[in-house]
């Protein structure tokens, strides 16, 4: 397993685990999934920005 596949596997397991928790929304998992697919998962600024954006949208919705 190469380094990227290793991240993908761990990410998959992490999301599975969190999605099964009541206080966790699929939307939150989506943030990290998207970041991984865009290859931006190692970029602190991008993670920060995405989380801010999703919470902002989430708050507007509810």
């Amino acid at each position: 397993m190469d380094d990227k596949s290793f991240v993908a596997e761990i990410l998959k397991k992490t999301i599975e685990k969190l999605n099964s928790q009541q206080d966790w929304s699929d939307e939150y998992s989506g943030i990290f999934k998207d970041l991984f697919e865009q290859g931006k998962y190692d970029n602190q600024e991008e993670i920060y920005r995405s989380i801010r954006q999703v919470i902002k949208n989430h708050d507007k919705k509810y």
């Binding site: 397993m1 380094d3 290793f6 991240v7 761990i10 397991k13 992490t14 602190q44 989380i51 919470i55």
Partner: protein, 800 residues
């Protein structure tokens, strides 16, 4: 598989050192400091572009500065590793695409197939986190570490933002705490503050405050209430005015201070005399200064020589005789300063009163100010500024007594206009209440706003933290799974290394509490299980434990990358005893029989043991052995791969059970090896062949004719040379290919051939200086480095 290695100007290697492996494993023997590790460094540098133990050593040691040979620069380094597909990895050329070299360069393997003894000890004796870092190169953790680091950075950033937001909220609460004199900050809650404000409002019969939002309207009601009770601001102004008027009334007239000056001077001195005295005194004082500072020795009037100290003494005496006038001058100055200060007081007070009158706008107050100012002006005109002025003729100024009368009148008038004390107290309380309302309103606006921000920020923080922690947990599970995956191999290797010893059960574990990685090693020692092996194991047992872990990780890596087929072990068995290291070598030779091994050792006994073991694992077809005879500072290691080969050939020769074809093959191969060496040392003109693959025929004819020309050499060795010349076909007929005609060769004939090849080796190779013969310095014959072998027209041949 590696076909050849070329190293130049790296570490202990100055001149080009070429090692042809031909895909065989390589065993290098050399004493300490002979350049074994430099060869390993060269391979590592060619493959990875780095020499890890140098680049990650310490700040003072760097690849650029310390990788080159001491007489070379960084750009002089040339390293090259050629693989079995002909592709090349080097420090000066990128490998061609779709080759083994290219795949290796782009595989991020690092130096995972190279193990040095120092690495073993580092891994075993490190703390779990540092040990994990060492093991990290074997685990696919590069990208996940980047992900974790970025996430941790965001978690920390949100935490920092939360902390500063909470500090802001706390500061707003503290402002309210101070205003309301509340002891405990936790008691500064909306409910508590509303309750306090309601109670205070009740004291002033104000209606009940329900919400902080009502505060601006509520403050307007408080203002109305204050206005009904009285004008507190005006009351404050009047009280200040009354204080100033009291000061004026109590203040003495400046007239008496002026009178002192006049009386003092006029009674003690008439004008004419005073003028003279003053002038005379000043003249004498200036004269002394002039004599001292200018260093004069002549009288300024008659220009006759004078005794300066004596003159100064006499002048000082005269000044003292007039001291009464000096005293008078000082007294004048003192009295003058007092008067000026009094006048200044009056000026300041007038300014203060006039400032208050800006609020009251009272003509009588302005009249008082004007009167005082006029009087001050009059005094300033009449009072002399120095004792020299003609004061006798001036009249003593008068201070207008109406000033006191006006002040008293104003005092009476404004005393009737001040508010009663009770009213003032009530007003002060309600004004404080109003200010407190403002403090509450201003701070709670911010507290509410920041609290909302805090909730959202906390949400972001919790999501990121939760995700980060779960990611770390999952990564740990995966790493633990890898540890478990290699556990069997580690234990099998360790048990093979230490058969029938009551130790083992090695387990690698990841620490639960650590957010970063960790690697805890546990092992058993007799009845003790799950112990840190450092507590019980000997140094050599720890070494072999490290080696077992490394081999298991290497094997796992090989299963993922089929190109990884070469394992390099640099002096890793130093501390291990003879019995154990044979177990270990056997284990490595059998477990990695499909791999190319490069093993170095400084231990001659171990080297001999390895040579012995090679026979069981493929012998000459699988292994190549090199001894480093010596290391020369400005050349590098001197390699010799013939000594072990001749030893093997001698063993074959004395073995009665040896198959004649095997003997012929070994003899032919050894003869090829000698001829290749002589090709270089005697500088034979042989047409170049692809990859330097020469047969006996390619070199022998040229060499034979050259050696025959040296009469001394040929005279002594003609039997050996001629025999090989006529028997060399044995190499091709019996040694290489099956040939029916050659089957007629007897074993004795082949043994004779072997015997002559060994003799030929002894003629051309000096075992004293470990060198082949070469052209002598005068070009007249041949010699070895130490001249023990010397074939020259001028000298007799020396063979000690």
């Amino acid at each position: 598989m590696i076909r050849s290695i070329n190293i130049e100007n790296l570490r202990g290697i100055r001149f080009n050192t070429n090692i042809d492996l031909d895909n065989k494993s390589l065993i290098i023997f050399g004493e300490n400091g002979k350049g074994k590790s430099s060869i390993v460094d060269g391979i590592e540098y060619a493959i990875t572009g780095d020499i890890k133990h140098i680049s990650s050593s310490c700040r003072e040691v760097s690849l650029k500065k310390h990788a080159p040979h001491i007489y070379a620069d960084f750009q002089d380094i040339k390293v090259q590793v050629e693989f079995n597909d002909g592709s090349i990895l080097s420090n000066h050329k990128e490998p061609e695409k779709d080759t083994l070299a290219y795949r290796l360069r782009n595989s991020d393997l690092g130096n995972i197939n190279i193990l040095r003894r120092s690495q073993i000890l580092n891994a075993i004796f490190a703390q779990p986190k540092e040990r994990y870092d060492l093991l990290k190169q074997f685990l696919p953790l590069v990208e996940i570490t980047k992900f974790e680091n970025a996430l941790k950075g965001v978690v920390d950033k949100f935490q920092q933002e939360l902390s500063s937001l909470q500090t802001e909220i706390e500061n707003h609460k503290k402002n309210i705490q101070v205003a309301f004199d509340i002891k405990d900050l936790d008691s500064v809650t909306s409910d508590n503050i509303i309750s306090i404000l309601i109670n205070r409002g009740k004291q002033f019969n104000l209606e009940v405050l329900k919400d902080f939002k009502e505060i601006p309207e509520y403050i307007k009601k408080v203002d109305n209430y204050i206005e009904c009770i009285g004008n507190i601001n005006q009351d404050v102004v009047i009280r200040n005015l009354l204080n100033l008027l009291d000061e004026v009334i109590d203040k003495k007239s400046p007239e008496q201070f002026a009178k002192i000056i006049f009386d003092n001077i006029n009674t003690k001195l008439d004008l004419v005399q005073k003028k003279k005295v003053v002038f005379y005194e000043e003249f004498l004082t200036t004269g002394i200064q002039w004599l001292q500072e200018e260093n004069k020795s002549l009288c300024p009037f008659c220009e006759s020589p004078i005794d300066v100290p004596s003159v100064i003494e006499r002048v000082k005496k005269r000044i003292n005789e007039n001291s009464e006038y000096s005293k008078l001058k000082k007294e004048f100055q003192r009295d003058y300063d007092i008067l000026q200060s009094e006048l200044k007081w009056w000026e300041d007070n007038v300014n203060k009163i006039r400032s208050i009158n800006e609020e009251l706008n009272d003509e009588n107050i302005e009249h008082l100010c004007k009167t005082v100012e006029d009087n001050i002006e009059g005094f300033k005109k009449l009072i002399p500024k120095s004792i020299q002025e003609n004061i006798i003729k001036k009249n003593l100024p008068n201070w207008n007594e109406s000033i006191y009368k006006i002040a008293n009148h104003l005092k009476n008038e404004y005393n009737n206009r001040v508010l009663p004390k009770d009213t003032v107290l009530l007003l002060n309380e309600i004004i404080k209440f109003k200010n407190d309302l403002k403090v509450v309103y201003d701070n709670f606006i911010h507290i509410n706003k920041k609290t909302k921000e805090n909730i959202i920020l906390n949400k972001k923080y919790i999501i990121t933290k939760q995700f980060y922690e779960e990611l770390v947990r999952q990564r740990k599970n995966f790493v633990q799974a890898i540890y478990n995956e290699i556990k069997d191999d580690i234990n099998r290797y360790y048990s093979d290394m230490h058969p029938e010893e009551n130790i083992g059960n090695i387990d690698l574990k990841i620490k639960d509490s650590s957010s970063k990685g960790s690697a805890i090693i546990e092992a058993s020692f007799y009845e003790k299980n799950g112990e840190d092996p450092r507590a019980y194991y000997s140094e050599s047992h720890l070494d072999t434990l490290g080696l077992a872990i490394f081999l298991a990780l290497y094997k796992r890596e090989c299963s993922k990358n089929r190109d990884l087929k070469f394992l390099i072990l640099d002096d890793v068995l130093t501390s291990v005893d003879a019995a154990h290291r044979i177990n270990i070598i056997k284990l490595i030779f059998s477990e990695f029989k499909e791999h190319q091994l490069i093993i170095t050792t400084h231990d001659i006994v171990l080297y001999k043991e390895i040579l012995e073991l090679e026979k069981q694992y493929g012998g000459n077809n699988k292994f190549r052995n090199i001894e480093i005879c010596e290391w020369i500072k400005d050349r590098g290691p001197i390699l010799d791969d013939t000594k072990s080969e001749v030893q093997k050939l001698r063993e074959h020769f004395t073995n009665p059970k040896i198959d004649k074809n095997i003997l012929a093959s070994a003899t032919g191969t050894f003869l090829e090896l000698i001829l290749c060496k002589l090709r270089y040392s005697l500088e034979l003109a042989i047409p170049a062949k692809y990859q330097d693959k020469y047969t006996i025929g390619d070199i022998w004819d040229n060499l034979y004719s050259k050696l025959k020309k040296n009469k001394e050499f040929y005279h002594l060795n003609s039997k050996v040379l001629d025999f090989i010349n006529i028997s060399k076909f044995i190499r091709n007929t019996s040694g290489c290919h099956y040939n029916e005609w050659a089957q007629g060769m007897s074993k004795d004939e082949i043994k004779q051939f072997t015997n002559n090849v060994i003799k030929f080796y002894e003629i051309v190779y000096c075992s004293n200086c470990n060198s082949f013969i070469k052209k002598s310095n005068d070009n007249e014959g041949y010699q070895c480095n130490c001249l023990r072998l010397l074939y020259n027209k001028k000298y007799k041949v020396l063979i000690s």
